[in-house]
Structure formats: structure tokens, C-alpha cells
């Protein structure tokens, strides 16, 4: 509801102000439709989303793996913590020239930037999640003779899952940011490139249309995660509250 209201307000503002940088929503929606039926645009999306998917998947695998290790073993955490803080607080965009130098103008430079945007946040979140697992449950597992591997799989992971999913939702957004930045600053390809060319032509309708599509993709990915979240974490109060 609030989104529909916002769009209506925006449309009203556009019609009254007649400024070229505030396009009318009706035009934007027509353009969205045009863009989504254009073969060239679709292949741009295809390319961008492949990078996004790869980068996100790699981030999830390493983020959870390293995060669980950090959360379980103090030594690992103490060793990695300075680097994690460094990577978390420094603007990822600063590292673009380095990725560019290593990977050249290739998709891998973009994928690495996507990982840069998402993996460190995920590691830190998973670390905290694992550290807050109830000591009693862990002790219970050890009384019943659980091995280290069993404790990680049967206690730490399921217990940390609700927080991990919350972190994943944020990570999706960060990965999309990484993708667009990569396409703007490394290899001018895909959705980012198209947006830039619209901007150069002062085609504000096109810029808005693309932005809305990208936002919708991020939201869709988030919704997709939610479905899994409810399945895996139906026991947790926060997951049940959002049912």
C-alpha cells in the first residue's frame, strides 16, 4: 500500500513540476515493459544476474564456512578479526583498481567485487550467531558423546540458522550493490552500462525504469530467501512472527 501511495505521489509531483529529471510514472512503466521485451536488454540482465548469482553463491559458501570456524574457534577469530574489520569498514570501491589490475576487464573482476561487498558482512554476522549458541546445548551434545563435526552440524548450524538468514537478506542487497558498482566502474557491461548510457542521453525514464527493475530483482531474491527461512527456522520466534 505505502509503495503504491509513494508512486502516486511521485507521479503527481512529476505532472505538476514538469521537470525532466522527475519522469511520470506511467512513462516509466511503459518503459519497463519495453525494456523487458528487448532482446539486448534481456541479454544484459542475463549477464549481470549470472555474475550476481556466482558472486552471491561463493559469498554464502565461504561466508558461512569461515563464519562458523570463527565463531567456534577463538584463535581463528582472533587471527582474522583485524582483516575482517579492515574489509568491512573500508569502502569496497577503493579496491576496484586492484581487482581490475588482477583480473582485467573480465567478469571475474565484477564477481570478486560482488564477493567483496557481501562476504565480509556475512562472515561477521555468522561469527556472532555461532558465538551466541547456548553453551548448555553444546555441553549436552558433548555429554552424549558428539564429535566436533557432529556438534557443528547438529548444534551450531541449526542454532545459528535464524541469524544467518537475517544476514543473508542483507547480503543480497549488498551483492546487488556490488554488481552495479562493478558494472559501472570495472567493465562497463550489463545493467550498469545500460543505466549509464541512459543517463548520458538524459533519458530519465530509462534510468528510473532500470532502477525499479533492479530493486524488484533484489526484493524477489529476498522473498525467495524468506520462503527458505520459514521452512528451516519455523521453530524460531522471529520466523514464526512473520508467518
Amino acid at each position: 500500500m505505502s509503495i503504491v501511495g509513494g508512486l502516486a505521489l511521485f507521479d503527481l509531483a512529476a505532472r505538476i513540476s514538469k521537470q525532466p529529471f522527475i519522469p511520470e510514472m506511467s512513462d516509466v512503466f511503459v518503459r519497463i515493459f519495453e525494456l523487458l521485451t528487448d532482446q539486448d536488454v534481456l541479454s544484459d540482465f542475463n549477464r549481470s544476474l549470472q555474475n550476481l548469482f556466482l558472486g552471491f553463491t561463493i559469498s554464502v559458501v565461504f561466508g558461512i564456512l569461515i563464519g562458523v570456524l570463527c565463531g567456534r574457534y577463538d584463535t581463528v577469530e582472533r587471527t582474522l578479526r583485524p582483516y575482517l574489520n579492515l574489509m568491512l569498514t573500508s569502502p569496497s570501491i577503493l579496491f576496484v583498481p586492484i581487482y581490475f589490475a588482477i583480473f582485467g576487464i573480465s567478469r571475474w573482476a565484477i564477481i570478486v567485487l560482488i564477493i567483496d561487498y557481501s562476504v565480509f558482512f556475512l562472515i561477521v554476522s555468522v561469527t556472532t550467531a555461532v558465538q551466541s549458541v547456548s553453551k548448555e546445548t553444546v555441553e549436552m551434545a558433548s555429554v552424549f558423546g558428539a564429535t566436533e563435526k557432529q556438534t557443528l552440524r547438529l548444534i551450531y548450524l541449526p542454532s545459528a540458522m535464524p541469524v544467518i538468514f537475517t544476514a543473508l537478506r542483507v547480503t543480497v542487497g549488498r551483492a546487488v550493490k556490488g554488481m552495479i558498482n562493478g558494472e559501472l566502474f570495472i567493465a562497463v557491461v550489463g545493467i550498469g552500462a545500460r543505466s549509464q548510457s541512459f543517463a548520458r542521453q538524459l533519458d530519465m525514464v530509462g534510468v528510473f525504469a532500470l532502477a525499479i527493475i533492479v530493486v524488484c530483482i533484489a526484493l524477489l531474491l529476498g522473498a525467495f530467501l524468506n520462503v527458505f527461512d520459514k521452512r528451516v527456522n519455523s521453530w524460531a520466534p522471529q520466523a514464526r512472527a512473520s508467518k
Binding site: 548448555e136 555429554v143 552424549f144 558423546g145 547438529l154 542454532s159
Partner: protein
């Protein structure tokens, strides 16, 4: 069944900026022989090391010196012969009752069908039939501890270690659980070591009651409980019971007053 010889354990609290290093002798030369299928309760003021002693038998705490031999083997870590019931229940909140009960068997690699069958039987035994698929958050405290008890029994241990298992329950639930435990133990005898704060619990359940005192943690008295078996609440009205309760309370009161005096100095 369990032989504890000259057990010593000291916890060292490292120095902080405000307080110097502190050493707490929680176990000081503990000697105790527990017979097979004997029901032992341990009572004492807080800080007397009763929980540490239980955790040492479980293999969760390493002794500084001395030894514990349980079911024929020297305790070096947790073992399938010894199962534990926790005061805080320690259930897995994401797993339903049946998975919680079957946990010990899952750890041992028993296949799913077999372990769930065992779990179902025990869930019935502890009176939770119909709650197999409930989550712990849907159960009351007493029901949660029934799950904890079923989980411990599922691995068919020779020794059952219970750390104030009913300490967090309200009075009527606690009484009911005590009666259930007596019934279960009559049906399926095991060696039980039961740590408690409750005088009634210490007498009602036990064959022998161990009294401990703090600073340093030590055994001060071992009381035989000459009440008949199978035992019911009726026992509470006998003069033996009342005398025993008086004796234990005397002991605890002395310990408690001593502690206050020490703190005041």
C-alpha cells in the same frame, strides 16, 4: 559402580584489574563408593562443589588429582554408560520432541527408524504420548524435563546423572516429577546420582544422601535413608523421614551461617 578416590579440583579465577587472582577449592579429597543400582542424592550449600562432582563423573570436568572409575572404566571424558539430565533442560529448540529424545542415538549413528521407535516408546513411558511432534517452546517446564529424562534413558545408560533436574519447576510439578522418577526407577533400576537443593527430594528419592560443605568443597556426612521401597509420598509422614529432614537441615543451616560469617569478615 562408581568409585571416586581422593578427588581434587581447584578453580582459578584469573586476576582482573580490580580483584587479585582467586582460587576456589571446589573438591577437596572426595572419596565415595556408589553401588550398582543405588540412588544417591547430593545436598549442600551453593559453592560446595556438588555440581562439579557430578560434572566430573560425567567427564565434563577434569580433576586436578584423584580418579573416578565408573562402570569399570576410568573417567576421561563422556561415555555412553553415563547420561545426564540438566537443570536447564538443554533441549534443542529447533527439533521436535522425538528428535530431541533420539539425539543421543543419532550421535551414535543408530538409523533413523530404529532410533525414532526407541524415542516413541520412551516418550510414552514419560507420559508425553501425543506430543511427539511438538517443539520445546510449546511445552511446559515439567514436560520439557520429561523430554530431558527420556533423552537420557534413550541411550540406555548404566548411570544416570541428574543436575538439579527439578530445580526450575514449580512445586506441584516438582512433586509430580519426583513421583514419576520413583516409578520409573522402580521399573528400570539404574545407578542414579542426583544433585538437589531440596531437602524433601534428597530424602524421598535416595538410598543414601551425601551432605557436602563449601570452602573447601568436601563430603561431611553420608546418611543412609532406611525408608522402604517401592517408596511413595507416604514415607514423608514417618518419624524416620522427619528426623532425617531435621538432621539435614541442621547441617545446611550450620553451613549457611558459617558462610555468612565468612563473608562478613
Amino acid at each position: 559402580m562408581i568409585k571416586i578416590s581422593n578427588a581434587h579440583k581447584t578453580f582459578v579465577k584469573p586476576a582482573t584489574r580490580k580483584t587479585p587472582e582467586r582460587k576456589v577449592e571446589v573438591l577437596n579429597g572426595i572419596d565415595l563408593d556408589i553401588q550398582e543400582n543405588e540412588f544417591i542424592t547430593i545436598v549442600g550449600p551453593s559453592g560446595c562443589g556438588k555440581t562439579t562432582l557430578l560434572r566430573a563423573i560425567a567427564g565434563l570436568v577434569k580433576l586436578d588429582s584423584g580418579s573416578i572409575v565408573a562402570a569399570g572404566e576410568t573417567v576421561a571424558g563422556p561415555s555412553p554408560d553415563r547420561a545426564m539430565v540438566f537443570q536447564s533442560f538443554a533441549l534443542m529448540p529447533w527439533a521436535n520432541v522425538i528428535r530431541n529424545v533420539a539425539f543421543g542415538l543419532e550421535i551414535r549413528g543408530v538409523d533413523k527408524e530404529e532410533r525414532e521407535q526407541t524415542a516413541r516408546d520412551l516418550i510414552k513411558t514419560v507420559g508425553l504420548a501425543g506430543f511427539e511432534n511438538s517443539l520445546p517452546s510449546e511445552l511446559s517446564g515439567g514436560m520439557k524435563q520429561r523430554v530431558g529424562l527420556a533423552r537420557a534413558l534413550a541411550v540406555n545408560p548404566r548411570i544416570l546423572l541428574m543436575d538439579e533436574p527439578f530445580g526450575g519447576l514449580d512445586e506441584q510439578t516438582k512433586r509430580l516429577m519426583q513421583e514419576e522418577l520413583l516409578r520409573l526407577w522402580e521399573a528400570q533400576r539404574k545407578t542414579v546420582v542426583f544433585v538437589t537443593h531440596s531437602l524433601d527430594e534428597a530424602i524421598l528419592l535416595a538410598d543414601r544422601c551425601i551432605l557436602m560443605a563449601a570452602r573447601p568443597g568436601r563430603i561431611t556426612e553420608v546418611l543412609d535413608i532406611p525408608l522402604g521401597r517401592p517408596r511413595t509420598r507416604e514415607a514423608e509422614r514417618t518419624s524416620t523421614y522427619i528426623d532425617l529432614k531435621e538432621k539435614i537441615w541442621d547441617h545446611l543451616r550450620t553451613a549457611q551461617i558459617q558462610e555468612l560469617a565468612e563473608k562478613a569478615n
